[in-house]
C-alpha cells in the first residue's frame, strides 16, 4: 500500500510537470490548430535560461525565497518573449498556408531552438545546483514527499487554477475561447486575433518556463535535446485530455504521469513507452477528441 501511494506521488509530480507543458500545446492548438513542435524545446530553453540566471546572479549560495521568485519571473519573461518571437517568425507568415507547411515550419523551429541551445551552452550536460530548495523530506507513514516535490505540486495546482479562472472568468479569457471556436466569427465580433494569439503564446510559454524550471530544480541535469522528450509526453497528455481543452490538458498530464508511474512500477520499465503509446493510439481510435474534448461534426 505504501508502495502504491508512493507511486501515486511519483506519478503526480511528473504528471503536473507534463500538465504545465501540455497547457502550452493545447492552447496553441485550440486557437491555431497547429501542433507547436517547438514548445518542448522552449521548455528546455527555459531550464537553461533559469540555470544561467541562478549561477550568474547568485552563485551557488543557498537562495532566499525572494531570489527564487525573481529568477522564476525573469526566466518566464525571457521565455515568453521567445515564444512571441517564435510565433511572429515561424507561424504567423503561415497562417493561411497549407496545414502541412506549418507543421514543417514547427519542426524546423524545434531544430533551430534545440541546436541553438547546443551552440550557446554546449553539447554536454549542464547541472542545476542541488540546494535551491531545502532537502527536507516528509515521511507520512512510509510515504515520502520531498520539499521540491511539494513545491512542484502546490505551485502547479495554483497555476492551473489561476489559468482556469483566467480563461473562464475574464474578458480576455472569453475572447480566447471565442477565437478557438471560430476565428472568423471572433474577428467579426471585433476581437483582434493577432493579439489573442500573442497572449496564448505568452501564457503558454510562461507555463512551459515554470515547467522547465521545475524540471531543472527537480532533476538537475539539462541536455540540449531534453525538450523533445518532455514535449512529446506533454503533447500526448494534451491529446489524452482532448487537445484544445484546457482542463483536458491538466487532467491528461496528471493521468499520463500516473499511468507511466504505474506501468514502470508494476508492469515493465522495458515496455513503458510502448504502453504509453498504445494507450495514446487506443484513445485516438476510440475517442479521438480525448477525454474532455468534444467531437465536431464534419462540415460539407
Amino acid at each position: 500500500m505504501e508502495t502504491f501511494i508512493q507511486q501515486l506521488i511519483n506519478g503526480l509530480t511528473v504528471g503536473s510537470l507534463y500538465a504545465l507543458v501540455a497547457l502550452g500545446y493545447t492552447m496553441v492548438y485550440g486557437v491555431m490548430k497547429l501542433i507547436n513542435f517547438a514548445h518542448g524545446d522552449l521548455v528546455a530553453f527555459s531550464a537553461y535560461v533559469g540555470l544561467t540566471i541562478f549561477t550568474q546572479f547568485y552563485g551557488s549560495n543557498a537562495l532566499t525565497l525572494v531570489n527564487i521568485v525573481i529568477v522564476f519571473s525573469l526566466t518566464s519573461i525571457v521565455v515568453a518573449f521567445m515564444g512571441v518571437l517564435l510565433e511572429r517568425l515561424a507561424y504567423r507568415p503561415l497562417r493561411t498556408a497549407p496545414r502541412l507547411s506549418a507543421v514543417v515550419s514547427a519542426l524546423g523551429a524545434s531544430l533551430v531552438i534545440q541546436n541553438g541551445i547546443m551552440l550557446i551552452w554546449g553539447p554536454n550536460m549542464e547541472i542545476f545546483p542541488s540546494d535551491i530548495f531545502p532537502s527536507t523530506t516528509w515521511n507520512f507513514g512510509g510515504v515520502l514527499i520531498s520539499y521540491t516535490q511539494f513545491v512542484i505540486l502546490a505551485l502547479s495546482a495554483f497555476l492551473m487554477v489561476s489559468l482556469y479562472l483566467f480563461i473562464n472568468k475574464t474578458k480576455i479569457g472569453t475572447a480566447i475561447r471565442a477565437t478557438a471556436i471560430d476565428q472568423d466569427a471572433a474577428k467579426l465580433m471585433g476581437i483582434n486575433v493577432n493579439r489573442i494569439v500573442m497572449i496564448i503564446f505568452i501564457v503558454g510559454s510562461m507555463l512551459g518556463a515554470i515547467g522547465g524550471l521545475f524540471i531543472g530544480v527537480y532533476y538537475r541535469g539539462l541536455t540540449f535535446d531534453m525538450g523533445w522528450m518532455y514535449g512529446l509526453n506533454a503533447f500526448i497528455a494534451a491529446i489524452i485530455g482532448g487537445i484544445g481543452s484546457i482542463p483536458g490538458a491538466m487532467l491528461g498530464g496528471l493521468l499520463l504521469g500516473l499511468f507511466n508511474a504505474m506501468i514502470s512500477g508494476y508492469i515493465s520499465t522495458e515496455w513503458a513507452e510502448t504502453f504509453t503509446f498504445i494507450l495514446l493510439i487506443i484513445i485516438l481510435i476510440v475517442r479521438p477528441a480525448g477525454l474532455l474534448g468534444h467531437n465536431v461534426a464534419e462540415k460539407v
Binding site: 461534426a297 464534419e298 462540415k299 460539407v300
Partner: protein
C-alpha cells in the same frame, strides 16, 4: 420499378436539434425534382443523408428499391447516386480533364497492379476512360480548357465541370446542390438546357435551387421544406400559390444568401 429514389419518414438530428424532420420524397427516373425552402431549412442536410455523408437517425432511403440508409458515400456513389456541391468541391489544382476523370473512377476496371505494370488491358481501359472524358468535355463545351486547372475557371465553368464529373459516373440519380448559384443570366439559361437534356437521358435529378424562375421552369415536382419539415408538395404551379409557402418565405433573407447550416 416506379421510383429511382424513395425517402421515407427520414429524420436527422444534430446534438439534439432537429435538422430534418420526417421527410418523405419520391423521385421518378427522368424526373426533375426541386427542393426549395428558406435558408437553414435542412435542404443540404437532406442531400447529405441521401449521399451517405450523414446517416439519418430515423426513416429509410431506398435507391432503385434497395435500402441505402447509412451506407458509406462511396458505395452509394458506386450504385449510381452522384452529386454536386453547393460550395463547389473541385480538385482545384488539377486540370478540367483530370477532374472529370474522377467521375469515371467507378467505371474504370483497372486493378491495383495496373498502377505498377501497364499491360494491354490497362491501355484499353485507359483509352476508354479518356474517351468518355472527351465526350463529356464536348457535351459541356469544355474541350478548350482540358488542361486548365479548375481553380482558374469562372464560377459558371466550375459548375459545369462539377456536373460533367458527376455525369462521368453514368448516374441514375443526379443530385444538384444550387447549380445556378453565382451564375449570370446567360449561364443560367445554358445550365437550364443542360439539365433538361440530362433528364432526357432518363436520369432522375434532384436539385436545390434558390433561383425561382429556374425552378418553376425546370422542375416537374417540388417539395418545400422549412425547419426540416415539409410544408408543401406538388407541381410547380401548385406550390407557387400555396399560402404556406408564401408565408415561409416572408421575412426570410435574400434568396441568394448562403445557407448557414451547410457551412463550408
Amino acid at each position: 420499378m416506379e421510383y429511382v429514389l424513395e425517402i421515407k419518414n427520414v429524420s436527422k438530428f444534430f446534438s439534439g436539434l432537429v435538422a430534418i424532420d420526417d421527410l418523405t420524397i419520391n423521385v421518378k427516373p427522368g424526373q426533375i425534382y426541386g427542393i426549395i425552402g428558406p435558408n437553414g431549412a435542412g435542404k443540404t442536410t437532406l442531400f447529405n443523408c441521401v449521399t451517405g455523408i450523414y446517416a439519418p437517425e430515423k426513416g429509410s432511403i431506398k435507391y432503385k428499391g434497395k435500402d441505402i440508409t447509412g451506407m458509406p458515400p462511396h458505395k452509394i456513389a458506386q450504385m449510381g447516386v452522384l452529386r454536386t456541391f453547393q460550395n463547389i468541391r473541385l480538385f482545384k489544382e488539377m486540370s478540367v480533364a483530370e477532374n472529370i476523370m474522377a467521375g469515371y473512377h467507378t467505371k474504370s476496371k483497372q486493378k491495383w497492379y495496373h498502377s505498377i505494370i501497364h499491360n494491354s488491358f490497362y491501355k484499353k481501359d485507359e483509352l476508354e476512360s479518356w474517351k468518355k472524358v472527351e465526350e463529356l468535355m464536348n457535351f459541356f463545351d469544355l474541350s478548350d480548357l482540358a488542361t486548365t486547372p479548375t481553380g482558374d475557371l469562372s464560377y459558371g465553368k466550375q459548375r459545369k465541370v462539377e456536373m460533367a464529373r458527376a455525369l462521368a459516373a453514368s448516374p441514375e440519380l443526379l443530385i444538384l446542390d444550387e447549380p445556378a448559384a453565382g451564375l449570370n443570366e446567360n449561364e443560367t439559361i445554358e445550365l437550364t438546357k443542360i439539365i433538361k437534356s440530362i433528364s432526357e437521358m432518363n436520369i432522375g435529378i434532384m436539385m436545390i435551387e434558390h433561383d425561382m424562375d429556374m425552378v418553376m421552369n425546370l422542375t416537374d415536382y417540388i417539395t418545400v421544406i422549412n425547419f426540416g419539415k415539409e410544408i408543401s408538395q406538388g407541381v410547380p404551379s401548385f406550390v407557387q400559390d400555396d399560402p404556406r409557402v408564401i408565408e415561409a418565405y416572408i421575412g426570410s433573407d435574400d434568396e441568394n444568401d448562403k445557407e448557414d447550416a451547410n457551412g463550408k
